[in-house]
Structures are given as structure tokens and as C-alpha cells.
Amino acid sequence: MSINQITRREFMRRSASLGIAGVAAPWALNLATLGEAAAVTVNGDYRALVCVFLYGGNDHGNTLVPYDSASYADYARIRQTLATPRDTLDATALSPVSALPDATRQMALAPQLAPLKPLFDTGKMAVLLNVGALIQPTTLAQYRAGNVPLPPKLFSHNDQQSFWQSSLPEGATSGWGGRIGDLFLSSNSTSTFTCINVSGNAVFMSGQSAVQYQISTSGSLALLGIGSPLYGSPACSAALNSLITANNSVNLMEAEHTRVMRRALDANSQLGSLPSLTTPFDASNSLATQLQMVAQLIAARSLLGAHRQVFFVSLGGFDTHDYLVAQHPGLLASVANAINSFYAATQELGVANAVTTFTASDFGRTLTSNGDGSDHGWGSHHFVIGGAVQGQRYFGTLPAVAVDGPDDVGQGRLLPTTSVDQLAATLATWMGVSPSELPLVASNIGNFTVKNIGLLAA
């Protein structure tokens, strides 16, 4: 595809998305819009976003735990057997640079998140309070009255995963990571390496034009039957190569399979063997091995001509309806261990200020207990890590520790006070997306007055 084709398509897409004009747009407008596109062009620097998705709905109640004695007492009363013992929280109680609005409140990281505490204390990690899927700012009264639009199918895993990633329920075909990628495709020498997924396919990473490239934790895979003679036959290797890359299918699924295979072979030939790092990663931690591959790809950024990249990694198992106390701590330990190694790797590579990592999940969970776990919720607390982060701070509003409290839509399910679109717009702005293009990334951002929640230094 030629540059002109890309530009034309990009123009058409932007025009449609911004509601500017139909296909009969005057040429002058065309030029003006392309001029705006040029504003997104980068000048040789490098920035990357890394989404760490916690599949299943992370139990935020036991991730960021009330620590001051009054709040802890409420927490323990509501959570019953799920409550983390207070004396295990002493070492991870957080002291932000500025006090919470209610200065009597103090929060602690789960004990298993101890590896992240130094990142918070040194200003490399911030805590994002009660963030979740919203279409517009929503009060509890509005939620109950049902008189404002709400994200569809709240509390449903697949739909809320999709909404978090794309602002649409399941069936969406682009997500905000991919849509950020759309705007930077031309900044990278090889557009394939703009949105890279080290986990399974996720709508987050697909843009209108950007295609997610999936890579294994051991790197790109070589096709054995082409690399050496297939069952001893070079002719059969050639036939294999021809069959799997031939662009002659009428059937749409055959054609799509061929496209994926061609990308796989092309990318493998371009990537070759990636640089290795000295920073250790825990080989038994699947999130750590994914982040290690991200670090190796970032190490190769100059070779690949990459200036703006979005990465996606994930860990499953967070749907803790049962066994919360038995299983959730281990999951958090994996998250902390992996993110800690990854931050160290970005320091090793000298890109700590250029890489921002953030956690995400389907939804938060109920504060109440079902006896052995918690159920599907809505708003949740998350972490943002990196050298550019305004760290050792809380962003957003700390919810009350209460059932039927001011933020509770039932059983301690939090009504979010910060929207995913605000997070997306903030991260996109840091990547270099201009204010006028934020709606292309975060389709509901126009409904929010605050479009940059200040997580990151400019």
C-alpha cells in the first residue's frame, strides 16, 4: 500500500469520525486535515505504552486496602473472612507526597505488592482511584434513575473487557491502544511493529488501520518447513511457501488466514534475533516473560525504526468468586514481580522516562463477601508506572468504605469517578496525540471536562 493510499484512507476515516464531511469534502479541507495529521509526526524520539490487563476482574478491595484504623474497621466488617489482616499491611502503607482530601484516610498496598512500594516511594508509580467504564460523568442518583447513558452490559466479563479496551461491548473492532497506533503508523518505519501483543488477541490493540502483531514470549516464530527442506525436499518447501502466502482466495476467511501468515513470515524475517537484557525476569511468571519480550522489543526499537509503540500483556485468573484469599495474593505477587522487573529493564535500556505501564481489568468487584470470594463490580483502582509518571500520588477520588455508601451501586460495587476515556486521553496526550484528535482515541472524552488527569509529566 502506498503512502498516498494510507493518507487518503486516514483522511476519510478522520473526516467520518470527526463528523467533518462526507466523501465530497473539498480539497482545501483535505489539505487542512492532512496538515493536522502532520502535527502528530514525531521527531526521532521514542515513547511506548504498555497495557497490563488482569483478566477476570481484579478484586480492588484487597489490592489497595484501607489502612487507617477507622477505614480498616469498616473494611474488615464488610469483607469478613476476605479481609487482609491489618498487621500484614504495615510495610506497604502508602505515604503520598500530598495528603488525601480526607487526611484521616490512609491506604496500603496488598502485602504481595511490596515490590511496587519502592516505585511509589520514589515517584515512579501513581495510584488511579476508582476508574471504570463510563459514557459521561454519572452520579449515583443518575445511575438509579437511569436517566443517563451507561456502558451496556455492566458486570458482564466479556462486554466490560471490551468496553475497557474499546468503549464498545463485545463485537467492537477497534480499541484505544490501536487507535493511538493509527495516529502513529507513519512515524514508524514498519507499521507492523506499532501495536504488539505478547498475549492473546485483544480488541485494545486493533485500530481502524493499525493491525495488532502477535509475538510469542520466545519471539517471532520461524516456519520450519520453509527454513529447511520440508521432509528433505526444497521443492516442497517452495510449494509450502507459495500455498500459504498466495493471494488468490475468493473466500474471505481463506484470504484473512493468508494475511496473518504473510505478516508472520515478514515480521519474522525483519525481527531476527532480539537483543537480550541483563535485568532478570522470573521465567515461571507468565506476565514477567511477556514483559521481558516487550523489553527486548523496545531494546530493538532503533533497528526497527520504531518511535511510538503500544504493547499489550495479560494475566488471567482474577475472577475470584471463590478462593479469593487463597489465590488472589499469588496473582498480585506475579503482577508486582513482573512490573518491577520490567521497570528495571526500562532503566537498563535508558528508556524509563519513555515507557509508561498501566494496569487494567474487566471491572472491580463487590466489597461484600459471598463467603469465599467477591462478585462482579464496576469501578476499580489501578496503577500507572514509569519515569514520566507523576508518582507517589493518588489521582481520582477515594471512595468511601461502605455498603450502600455514596459510591455504591449495590454490594459495594463502585460507581466510577474517573472514566477509562479520561485515562485513555491522558495517555494518548502523553504519546503526542493532539487535543483535537483525542475523540478518535477515546470516543466519549467529549463528555468529560477534564481530558487530562495529569498522571504524566509533559
Partner: protein, 579 residues
């Protein structure tokens, strides 16, 4: 999103959420019309079975397409049918289909006896003798591969695989005692109920320890106002979202019902989940014994003291608090199974698992009508539904006459099992030691009963982004596990498996040696069995020319010809998409 989203509903939802939805959603609105055009001419008399009815329509003739008198089923047609109805097409299977015809072949398959159950096989192999196996899945992959690759009831095995991807229980997430036997017993239960009624299947699943553990109904207790404890909502939510109704009210043809502004009508609310969760309180193991896995094959039983005594409201009913727990459960399952969504919701997914990813609404409507009434007043007769799926004109029409998006990607497990059956794999010591094939960079990226979550390996409504499929609003579920790693890993895995087998499970190629000297015949025979003759002339020619370059002067070199022919067929996109 529910599995039955069609193009119109996608558009409607887009519009509802984002009035400025981009051009994609408007393009897709035209697709149903195209599907209508694609319906084969022979189906025009059957359209009366579908439409806006809410499940009250009596089944029309479900359109079994018998071959016209005097015209025999061809080898290709028989192979194509078997690829939809079974796990492979061997020469013997093809001959049997031609002899009996499609409908009688299905009847014969319905009547085949069950072979040794998964649970019994694991006992017979002594897996219960090692106490460590209480805490692992030893033996389960073995017996799952065993039946997929060697059990003669090929229709049942195919349907069980499909059911295991709708009513999902997974080894990823069963931290319980004798977990391997728990999974084995669950799959046995799917087998026992695959040809029964939906209502019986729903009952069996609900009370199984497999589902009870996987979605946490086992051990869920009544609410406790003193501590604030609430019933576990997991099963209540997923039984409605995934196993019966889906998120939106459906017409009988699977299209989504909307209100006047075009907003989809939801089937249930969060309050109904909370209400239904109370029905599912109080159930637990029957006769738990840490030294004997037998409790894993018993249905759960009720501890009445742990069952909620509140009124339980959901859908359009309220079960009064004093109702005994067993009775409350049966009333709840009757209500769910009687909902008009079930026919189109489950019927469409069965079509997707067996035949095509994007059935026309008319096809869904015909299958749903049979679900609602098998012609003898029985609702949810799965035998009749399976027949309706496989004998429908849309399934039996020559794929050359179908639109460009018709068919389905063969999922990796199906390709691997098809190779195994087509080339007569054996496991000399009956151990079937293939193991977990989930590794997406070294194996298949998929393994039976090892879905990452209750949402299966792939969702029925998955639309691959940035594709011409997506631009047309076409779903392609299996593409959810298709990516740059998986396509290469599959080819690499098959290259080794074809030649060396996996573990002691190896192909048997002796009968093919005689054909290896004649490569065009060799390749076209393999292409018939594997792809129902759906490889193009040029693909066949490419393969046979390359294979002919391998000398044929010894059995070893002739075997290389056979290996190469199989791999090249199995790597061709024309094979990978079942049409």
C-alpha cells in the same frame, strides 16, 4: 456481547452508544439482505418457519435435503457432510453415508452405543490409585484425545466437542480434589445428554460437580444479613448469558429485538441475577470422600439449611421463599429452558460449531423452530436440532454457490483430530499421551476442555478487526485464536506430528505406500478426505508437482511423499477453511 449478535444488532448497538458511529456500522447494515439473496432457491418454501414469532410457531418441515431420486451422493458430498457432522471422513465413513443417505446415517449414529466413559477409562488405568492425582489432571487429556481420535460414535464425539465449547468447563480453574475425575465425569455427562433434550442437559450441567466447581454454585450459601454475605452470582449470571438466553431478546431467527428507537431489548437485569443466585444456594457435593473420586460423578445435593428462604424473582417469575430448594431449582430451570431465546441462541451456536460462522437468519429460524417443537410437541429435542442443522438446505448446498464469507475456520483441535482419524493413528499401549496442546507457540494454541475462561477459546460473535470480514460485519469466531504465532506453530506442530506422531500416538501410512508412486492420485485422495475436494486445481497441481520431486525408490522416500502431501494439504488456506 452475546453470541447471537447479528449485523443489524451490531449496528443498532453502535448507534445507541455512539450516534456518530463510523462508516463500518452502516456498511454492515446491508449484509442481512445479501444473506437473504444467498439462501438457496430450494429453501423458499421453508421461510414460513421463521419471522417474528416468539417460539409459538409449530415446526414446519425442517427441510431435510434428501438427494433427488436417482442421484447418488458423491464422495465429495459425503466427505463434506462428514466434516460437518463428524471428526473426519474415512473411506468407510464416506461409503456408509452414500449407502444410507444423510438422514439415515444420522439415525444410525444416534443409535450407536456409548464406548467406555472417560471416568471409567481413568479408573481402569488406575489414575485413582495415586493420591497425588487428587490434585492434578493426570489422565484427562489422555482420555479426551482417546475418544476424539478413536471412538466410533463420530457424530456424538463431534457434538460433545461442540457442547464443551458452549457449556464450558475448563481445567484452567478447577482447584478441587480429584479435579481430573471431575472433568472426565463432566464430559461423560455431555455425552449422555448430547442426544437428549436441552432441559435434561441443562439439569445435568447445573447439578454437575464440574460446573458446580467451575462457576462456584457448589458451596454458595444463602444471604446473611448479619455479616452482609451474599449468594455467589457466578452461575446465575453465566447460565443466562452463555448457556441459555444471551444478553438480548431474540426473534426466532436469531436477530435481536429492539424497541422503537432501535435499542436492543435486554433479557435480564442485575437484580434478576441477584434473585436467581438465591435459587442456586445450598448445593454441595454428595458423599465427598478425599480418598475416592466417585463423588465427582454424582450430582450435587441440597443442604436445605444453606438455601435462601427469600423470595426469588427473575425473568417473569417469583419463586416464593418457602418453596423447597429442589423444587425452586426445577422451576428456575423450567423457566430458563422455556424462554423463547433458547432455540435461536443455542441453535445458532450449534450451526456455528458444525457448519458455518454466519448462518442466514432463515437457517437459524428453521433450526430454532425445530428446537421449539420437534414435530411431536417436544421442545429442545437435540437429536431433531442436530438433524435440522446438518440437513438444512444451507448446509447441504454446494459451497461454490455460497457467498464469499461462508464457512468456518477449522479450529486447530479439529484439524489435528481429523489428521489422526484420517491416517489411522494408534496408541499401542492405549495411553494416548498427547497431553496439553494449549501452548500457542509450540503446539496448537488450543486443547480440549482447556479454555482460558467460560467464554470459550473464541466467542460466537468475534469479528476479526481490520479485515474484509469485519467490514462486512461477518463473525469468524475461530480467528480469535488465530494470530502470527498460532499459524506458524500449527504448521510446525503438524510437520512433526505427521512424521513422528506425538508421544506414542502415530499415524499409519502403510495403505498409502502403494499410491505414492502416482502423486496426482495421492494428492487428490488426501484432498478428498481432508478437504472434501475443496482444494483448487492449481493447488492440487502445486502440491503434486512438488511431491513428485521426492524420489520414490524406497518405502522411506515414499513415506516422505505421503508426509509432504498431507502437510501441504493441511497448510493450504483452502483446507483450513471448512466450506
Amino acid at each position: 456481547m452475546d453470541s447471537v449478535r447479528d449485523e443489524e444488532s451490531l449496528c443498532a448497538i453502535n448507534d445507541a452508544i455512539n450516534p456518530a458511529a463510523d462508516e463500518t456500522s452502516h456498511q454492515v447494515a446491508s449484509v442481512p439482505e445479501k444473506d437473504q439473496l444467498a439462501i438457496s432457491a430450494g429453501m423458499s418454501t421453508l421461510l414460513s418457519a421463521c419471522g417474528g414469532g416468539g417460539g409459538s410457531s409449530v415446526a414446519e418441515n425442517p427441510a431435510p435435503i434428501a438427494p433427488p431420486p436417482g442421484s447418488a451422493i458423491t464422495d465429495r458430498e459425503a466427505a463434506r457432510f462428514l466434516h460437518q457432522a463428524a471428526l473426519a471422513a474415512t473411506d468407510a465413513d464416506i461409503a456408509r453415508v452414500i449407502t444410507l443417505g444423510y438422514s439415515a446415517w444420522l439415525d444410525e449414529q444416534f443409535s450407536l452405543p456409548h464406548t467406555q466413559s472417560h471416568y471409567d477409562w481413568m479408573i481402569s488405568r488406575g489414575y485413582q490409585g495415586n493420591p497425588n492425582n487428587a490434585n492434578n489432571f493426570q489422565g484427562v487429556d489422555n482420555t479426551l484425545w482417546r475418544k476424539l481420535m478413536s471412538s466410533p460414535d463420530i457424530l456424538r464425539q463431534r457434538v460433545v466437542l461442540a457442547l464443551s465449547e458452549i457449556f464450558v468447563v475448563s481445567m484452567v480453574g478447577l482447584p478441587v480434589s480429584w479435579r481430573g475425575f471431575c472433568v472426565a465425569a463432566y464430559v461423560d455427562l455431555l455425552e449422555e445428554n448430547a442426544f437428549g433434550t436441552y432441559r435434561s442437559l441443562l439439569n445435568a450441567i447445573t447439578l454437575s460437580t464440574g460446573m458446580g466447581n467451575y462457576l462456584n454454585m457448589r458451596g454458595s450459601q444463602k444471604e446473611d444479613p448479619r455479616t452482609g454475605r451474599e449468594p455467589d452470582e457466578n452461575y446465575a449470571r453465566e447460565v443466562l448469558q452463555l448457556f441459555s438466553l444471551g444478553l438480548y431478546q431474540l426473534n426466532i431467527d436469531g436477530t435481536v429485538k429492539t424497541d422503537a428507537p432501535g435499542t436492543p431489548l435486554e433479557t435480564y437485569t442485575q437484580n434478576m441475577i441477584t434473585g436467581l443466585a438465591k435459587v442456586f444456594t445450598g448445593w454441595d457435593y454428595t458423599q465427598f470422600n478425599r480418598d475416592d473420586p466417585a463423588f465427582q460423578r454424582l450430582p450435587m445435593s441440597l443442604n436445605a439449611s444453606r438455601h435462601s428462604s427469600s423470595d426469588k424473582s427473575f425473568l417473569d417469575i417469583t419463586i416464593s421463599g418457602g418453596t423447597p430448594g429442589e423444587q425452586a431449582l426445577q422451576t428456575a430451570l423450567d423457566t430458563i429452558a422455556g424462554h423463547p431465546n433458547v432455540g435461536p441462541f443455542i441453535g445458532r451456536q450449534l450451526i456455528q460449531r458444525l457448519v458455518t460462522s454466519n448462518p442466514s437468519p432463515a437457517y437459524v429460524g428453521r433450526v430454532a423452530a425445530v428446537f421449539n417443537n420437534n414435530g411431536q410437541g417436544v421442545r429442545g429435542d437435540l437429536k431433531a436440532v442436530i438433524k435440522a442443522v446438518l440437513l438444512d438446505g444451507e448446509a447441504r448446498t454446494d459451497p461454490a454457490a455460497q457467498p464469499a464469507g461462508w464457512g468456518k475456520l477449522r479450529e486447530p483441535v479439529l484439524r489435528f483430530v481429523q489428521w489422526a482419524r484420517t491416517f489411522g493413528v494408534t496408541s499401542p499401549t492405549d495411553v494416548w499421551n498427547i497431553g496439553d496442546t494449549s501452548d500457542p507457540s509450540r503446539r496448537l494454541g488450543q486443547s480440549p476442555l482447556r479454555s482460558p475462561s467460560v467464554f470459550n477459546f473464541f466467542r460466537p460473535g468475534y469479528v476479526p478487526p481490520n479485515t474484509s470480514l469485519g467490514a462486512q460485519g461477518l463473525a469468524a469466531p475461530e480467528f480469535q485464536i488465530t494470530n502470527e504465532s498460532s499459524v506458524v506453530a500449527y504448521a510446525n506442530y503438524m510437520q512433526t506430528a505427521i512424521q513422528n506422531g506425538v508421544g506414542e500416538v502415530k499415524g499409519t501410512y502403510g495403505v498409502w505406500l502403494a499410491q505414492a508412486n502416482d502423486t496426482p492420485t495421492l494428492v487428490s485422495r488426501i484432498a478428498l478426505l481432508m478437504s472434501a475436494g475443496q482444494l483448487s486445481t492449481s493447488t492440487l497441481s502445486t502440491i503434486s508437482t512438488a511431491v513428485a520431486g521426492i524420489p520414490a525408490n524406497s518405502d522411506a522416500s515414499r513415506l516422505n511423499r505421503i508426509y509432504a502431501a498431507i502437510l501441504l494439504v493441511m497448510a493450504a488456506p483452502e483446507y483450513i477453511v471448512q466450506k
